[in-house]
Amino acid sequence: MRNLVIVCSAAVLLAGCVTLPPNAFVVSQEQLARRQIETRRYDGIKEENLLIASSNVLQDMGFSLDNSETKLGLLSASKQRDATHGGEIAAAIIIALLGGGATPISKDQTIRVALVVRPVQATVDNTPVDGHFVRVTFQRIVRRTDNSTYAETLNEKELYEGFFEKLSKSVFLEAQKI
């Protein structure tokens, strides 16, 4: 029985027929919570100026712009950075010392960001609210020393807080035209 399981799993792996996770296209509660973390609202600034302020922040962070569609409020950018990690190197050395051979460790990474500005769909006393939401998402694709890669969405709350702190400053500067 065990052999059968091994053979079957090997067959599945070899054939490379991966299946879509169920509910990959259903918005979960967890994803709605992520929306809160990834979104901030800015009032009293035009969409155009908000996009300019955002692109300036991305530039401050060393990103280069890959694509933009200002009519839809989209900016996408990326940067390549070092991905070596002390803990991982230490673990690889320990494994090597124990005779486990060379373990591939993270070498470099491409960090990608998408930023979308959309108007707040609300009215107060029949006049549209002059506000916009900015939603930002970060991903990274890490390359290991054996050239294999893995990709992930960056989820740390602190990262998004840090980003919006920078953006708020930039929005202020843009509003003051400094």
Binding site: A15, N23, F25, V26, K71, R112, R135, Q139
Partner: protein
Amino acid sequence: MSKSILLGCTSLTLLLAGCNATMNQRVLDTGDESQLQKRSYQTRVFDTSDKEKVMRGVISTLQDLSFVIERADMMLGTVSGTKFQNQLAIRMTVSVRPKGSNQMVVRANGQLNIKPIEDPKAYQDFYSSLEKSLFLTAQLGE
């Protein structure tokens, strides 16, 4: 025990054979389904003339689903994005185009790692998420 190994080997061969396709088939993506079948489950019609609203809705739906938007083009009506989930890469392209003067046709197609997404349920789920974002009902058929 040898019987189970034989069974395993047979399923391995079948799986490998099942995932094999010629070069031309891979480029043209002519699978078991006809072009029309594929279009029918990948497409929905919405009663609105506002292309920008539908496109912004598509972008926020994809973002809600944890996609990172890579590109968008208002004129072509296309939006593309990728999401990474459990070591899998899901890539989607959605296009929006007007139909007549008061409808918008939305078409989505996706790929999972190196395979096209051909499960109609996936598209159904995507459109029901989009419906909620647009406050409009997705209709079948072109």
